[in-house]
Amino acid sequence: MAVIAVLALVVSLTTPPQQAAGLTVEKATAKSNQQDGNEVIGGQPTRVTWEGRVAADEQISMLTLTFPEGTSLAEGASAKATVLDGLVRLEAVQDVQLDIQQAVITFEQPVASGLLLRVEIYNIALPAADGDYSIGGNYRNTTGEVVALTPSPPIAVISMTTVKAITLWLDDQPWVQSWNSVLFLRIFFNPQLIVASVPNLFDGWLHSLGLVLVGFPLAIPIGLGVSFLRMARLRIVRFISSIYVNIIRGTPLFLQIYIAFFGLPFLGISIDSYLLGILVLAMNSSAYLAEIFRAGIQSIHKGQFEASSSLGMNAVQTMFSVIIPQTVRRVIPTATSEFILLYKDTSLLAAVGVMEQMMFAKSMVASTGNMTPYIVAAGYYLLVTLPLTKIIASFERRLAAAEGSSTAPSSSKKRRRRLFAKPASDAPSEGVDADANPS
């Protein structure tokens, strides 16, 4: 094999390229058989166009085009050959024979040098498996010599998937056609694009979930640590941690993302953008969680601290065995709202090129010129946020029932209002300066 390859290389280097040695294959294309795409689906009817120019020193009496293995002919398949002299169509074709392997064109009289041969094959189905396919064949010139054609430029074929099959099926449905005749429905709720977007955006959904599923757990210990600092005995520690919390909560996440993504490169620090996205989200969320945790801890009755102390437990034991376990149940609803907010905020990372749901949707919208992928993306977001919202509500009910009104956190009405907006305050208890305005 290697020897042959080397020989071929040597030959190709030593023999000068033959100028106009025989017919030049100029073009081979297949028309897209997708509704709103530009790809060619294998196994589906398409139209293949092949063009070749007769060489300067010969005339051609017969042309045979051979199709790639696996080609089939759909109903109504036909081939048409044309001889063109510039823009002028010449009457030269005598006969066109088409089968699944080849198209054979015979000419009434030899086709002269320099003329263009165009063959169009209708309702031909290229192989179903995806790949690049060329059209080969041969021709006979007037000396009776049969010369092989150089393989045509490849035609890229993608394989038929369930989604494409459904899309094609939808194309033919009368109800889809009348549905799509309404501009609003076609632009926002295009059935074919819904079908195409769901699997396509699934990847984006996973990317977004990944960001928040790594970022949020990372934010929890940071937030807990900061909440401890916020309650530290030393004033300076409280002060520094409050600066952290207030700056993060007082500036847009969007701005923080820009500073991180465009600022770090200036310092010569390059971090994978997905990872950096996670870090920025975690840092942002930690400030909100710190306030949620702090308010949760401070909402624990002081009798709990006193009982623990009176039993000889130190501050750390009290915190981890008595206070935090009680705090957890109280902060779960607000922390979950924070999770929802963070999940939605992953979309901001699209602006700096992190692969996530919005990026996937945007690129689909760009390639289809249709809003439907955004609607599907919305569906993916809701897939996470709606069940979580429900869970919060039921958890709050259970909590209220279990602890009674005296120790339950603040009214759920307050929190619900915040659920779909960046929170003004995530504090489960009143009287804590957990407001959005940094001091």
Binding site: H301, G303, Q304, E306, A307, S308, S309, S310, L311, G312, M313, N314, Q317, S321, V322, P325, Q326, R329, A402, E403, G404, T407
Partner: protein, 250 residues
């Protein structure tokens, strides 16, 4: 009673204790001594400083001046490891303060495990034993929210007793209870007193005080106004303020 102060069996000794909250002087020089096995009942009108005095004994409140000894240790010394002292000073609060996320048994086990470093098995055995003593052997796995106030308070007593305290402080242990639940808690306290536990009890239960106390202390305005055997203090108070107070509550 300065002569008693040097006696070794004193469990708690308080000297010239002053406590301010801001500019408000709540304790104005309290001297008190509680011997081993003694049951002292503290009475007095609201705001007289009874709770504050009790809370100073295990440093839940920091005394402004004066000294408190627990056995041989001067706990008002800043170098004292206060958690070590608190291990041996049991406290029962008016509001129970059970850990709501833990079952009765786990409430009693927690500090045994964390502070005394007892094994799980030992802590559990002692928890069940103590809960049995306060009459709750059938409630060991109940959550606090599933228990009545009286039951919760008895769990709190068991929780303190499991630490093998040298003295028990009760701050109006029955005041938050419905009248029908008071008896059960008082029965437990009475049993405890009979068993020889050193106790300092703030209460308004005169019958209980009369029956159980070795000594009654009447406080008013941040000072001890009068103290002595309960039958003397109750039956024949020497001070006008004591008479007034007793007249009001009985």
């Amino acid at each position: 009673m300065p002569t008693l102060r040097e006696q070794p069996q004193a469990v708690v000794r308080i000297e010239q204790l002053h406590k301010y909250f801001g500019s408000l002087e709540v304790l104005k020089g309290v001297d008190m001594e509680v011997d081993r096995g003694e049951v002292v009942v503290i009475l007095g009108p609201s705001g007289s400083g009874k709770s504050t005095l009790l809370r100073c004994i295990n440093l839940l409140e920091k005394p402004t001046s004066g000294d408190i000894w627990f056995e041989d240790t001067r706990i008002t010394d800043p170098a004292t490891d206060i958690n070590k002292i608190r291990e041996h000073v049991g406290m029962v609060f008016q509001s129970f303060n059970l850990f709501p996320h833990l079952s009765a048994k786990k409430n009693v086990m927690l500090a045994q495990r964390k502070v005394l470093k007892r094994s799980k098995e030992e802590a559990e055995r002692i928890a069940i034993e103590q809960l049995d003593k306060v009459g709750l052997s059938d409630r060991v796995d109940y959550m606090p929210a599933q228990l009545s106030g009286g039951q919760q308070q008895r769990v709190a007593i068991a929780r303190a007793l499991a630490m093998d305290p040298h003295v028990m402080l009760f701050d109006e242990a029955t005041s938050a209870l419905d009248p029908e639940l008071v008896r059960g808690v008082l029965d437990v306290m009475r049993e405890l007193a009979r068993g020889g536990m050193t106790m300092i009890v703030v209460t308004h239960e005169m019958g209980f005080a009369n029956e159980v106390a070795d000594r009654a202390v009447f406080m008013d305005g941040g000072v001890i106004v009068e103290q002595g055997r309960p039958e003397d203090v109750f039956g024949n108070p020497t001070h006008e303020r004591t008479r007034d107070f007793l007249g009001h509550i009985s």
